[in-house]
């Protein structure tokens, strides 16, 4: 099975508010997908649907299972970290390992312990006495020791120090990810994850406004450093976005031909955050 997630006309309403509007989506095996969108765009609702935590309209299959009907079964193959610090205060490191070992058929305790050896966490330590960063280390050690096919991370590094944030993604990429696995990440700090993403999903007002892989994007979207003398020329290409940095204009273009743009100035790969802002503006204008 190469398709991990398949959504057809997936919708979800809270009263009159439509959080998800007829979303069609497939996500294949071995992808690291960034789900990006402004607050209230429906990111969390979409993730909750995938995790079987909320009811929805339309069809949704996650690894061939209907998530809402069979949440418990699905959780054998999915892991998720929703926000940080959701481990209970009172639990000790060895207790949480015991518990997961007994309830999760795909958990390897040896693996978890070897991850934990690299940290300062002791077996008898209670979550209450840990810093936020340490709780995340513990949670990540558990998650990385589960042979899951899909890992869902909802703002996993929120409120973490920059050092932990960097470690978090490094560990994930080096010790966990392989082509058999799929990861979905939402975060506001896009720049931290853009180098590890294979695919991007932009969501706005409950709709997917962009579903593309990173390579396609870099073939279509370009950021150009335009000097003042080329400004008029550049404007005729209708940049999606333009800002001024050190006397130069940094412009974002959607253009099929890289060569034409190179005449205007130095061409770079655009940042996901800029791309996102530009696309949202484009949407609004349309």
């Amino acid at each position: 099975m190469t398709q991990i997630i398949k959504a057809t006309n997936l919708s979800k309403s809270y009263g009159k508010f439509q959080a998800l509007k007829n979303i069609n989506l497939t996500i294949g095996k071995g992808k690291i997908v960034g789900l990006i969108g402004p607050n209230g765009a429906g990111k969390t609702t979409l993730l909750k649907s995938l995790l079987g935590l909320t009811a929805y309209d339309g069809d949704l299959e996650v690894m061939g299972i209907s998530p809402f009907k069979e949440r418990a079964k699905l959780m054998e193959d999915i892991c998720f970290i929703a926000d940080v610090a959701v481990l209970p205060d009172w639990i000790k490191v060895n207790e949480v390992l015991d518990f997961v070992e007994q309830t999760h058929p795909k958990f390897s305790r040896t693996k978890a312990e070897s991850f934990l050896k690299k940290t300062k966490l002791g077996a008898k330590q209670k979550v209450k006495s840990m810093s936020k960063g340490m709780v995340v280390q513990l949670h990540l050690a558990i998650v990385m020791s589960i042979e899951a096919k899909l890992l869902v991370l909802d703002e996993p590094t929120l409120g973490l120090d920059i050092i932990y944030r960097k470690d978090f993604y490094d560990n994930l990429l080096n010790d966990y990810f392989d082509n058999e696995r799929t990861i979905i990440i939402t975060t506001h700090q896009v720049e931290e994850i853009e180098h590890i993403l294979t695919d991007l999903l932009f969501i706005k007002d409950g709709e997917i406004v962009l579903d593309a892989n990173m390579e396609e994007l870099t073939e279509e979207y370009f950021e150009v450093m335009v000097s003042s003398e080329n400004y008029e020329d550049a404007m005729s290409f209708k940049p999606l976005q333009s800002r001024k940095v050190f006397g130069k204009h940094v412009m974002l273009f959607k253009h099929p031909n890289r060569g034409e743009l190179e005449a205007l100035g130095e061409v770079q790969r655009p940042g996901v955050a800029d791309l996102f802002v530009a696309m949202l503006k484009e949407e609004d204008a349309a």
Partner: protein, 309 residues
């Protein structure tokens, strides 16, 4: 399935070690300390008055008792302590269940629990089983240890005064029988308390902020509304009787032995046992079980479909 339950029940004991295990241990220690202090006060009193009359008198009294009377003497002690244990057990379980489906929503850890392949029915039922079976067993076990410690302590003191503890303590005391009665008491308590547990569990899963207020005020409101409905529609002001029926559940839940009188002309252990058996046979227990089943099913439903974060 069984493996999950085992893990879930252990989990409850990790979280509530203090309430489930330390509470009965502390009660035991306090009771033993009180006994020792009582003895020391007696000794001080004796040394002040210059005579050991006080202590000797007590021992003489014991000797005057027949073996049956000695038995009753110990029964009274042990049964009343077990009443205290069962009462505290009820209070502990009351608050445990009230928090059982609420605390993890309050601290957000529900997201972690729900990320494991455990169904919501398993989670809810494991908490109920913990309250119905495992905590009562722990309380009973610690009660037995307390009773033995109490008898050992008394024996030491008696030997100190040259008495034979065998005939005064170990032959007449019925630890085994009292333990059996306590187990029956715990069962009776559990059956009568089931509707209360069911309601508390529902409050715990339903309430968004204050399960305690929800659990208390909704029934109060219903009671008041019912009362006034009767006053208005039937001009019946003396409707106290109708509260007797629900009160029965609370009474047996808190004090499962019911009203007992021990002593020379009072009840024997066998009487208490047959009282307990009789109180389990009440038809109200069936109603209680049905009520509990409905509200536990609702709790599972709410946990499954509404309490997702």
């Amino acid at each position: 399935m069984i493996k999950n339950f085992k893990a879930l029940i252990r989990r409850e004991f990790w979280e509530h070690r203090g309430a489930f295990i330390k509470t009965p241990i502390i009660i035991s220690i306090v009771l033993l300390v009180i006994a020792i202090i009582g003895y020391i006060i007696g000794l001080v009193f004796a040394s002040k008055t210059g005579s050991t009359e006080f202590v000797d008198k007590g021992i003489n009294e014991l000797h005057k008792l027949s073996e049956t009377q000695l038995g009753t003497f110990w029964d009274v002690q042990l049964i009343s302590t077990s009443t205290l244990f069962l009462f505290v057990l009820y209070i502990v379980l009351f608050f445990f269940i009230l928090g059982s489906l609420f605390d993890d929503r309050k601290d957000g850890s529900i997201q972690f629990w729900k990320s494991l392949p455990i169904s919501d029915s398993e989670t809810v039922l494991s908490k109920l089983i913990t309250a119905m079976i495992f905590v009562p067993l722990v309380f009973t076990a610690i009660f037995v240890l307390y009773s033995i410690a109490n008898l050992v302590l008394t024996s030491i003191l008696l030997m100190f005064h040259g008495q034979n503890p065998w005939s005064l303590v170990w032959i007449p005391a019925n630890i085994g029988k009292v333990t059996l009665i306590m187990l029956m008491g715990a069962l009776t308590q559990m059956l009568w308390a089931l509707p209360i547990y069911g309601w508390l569990m529902f409050s715990s899963s339903w309430s968004k902020r204050r399960p305690f207020l929800f659990a208390i005020f909704i029934p109060l409101l219903v009671a008041v509304a019912w009362y006034f409905l009767n006053v208005v529609t039937r001009m019946n002001f003396a409707q106290v009787d109708m509260f007797k029926w629900p009160a029965k559940y609370f009474m047996f839940a808190a004090l499962p032995y019911g009203s007992i009188s021990l002593g020379d002309n009072g009840m024997s252990l066998n009487d208490i046992a047959s009282n307990l058996k009789a109180s389990i046979m009440h038809v109200e227990i069936i109603y209680g079980i049905i009520f509990a089943a409905v509200f536990i099913a609702l709790s599972i439903w709410v946990r499954r479909y509404r309490n997702t974060t």
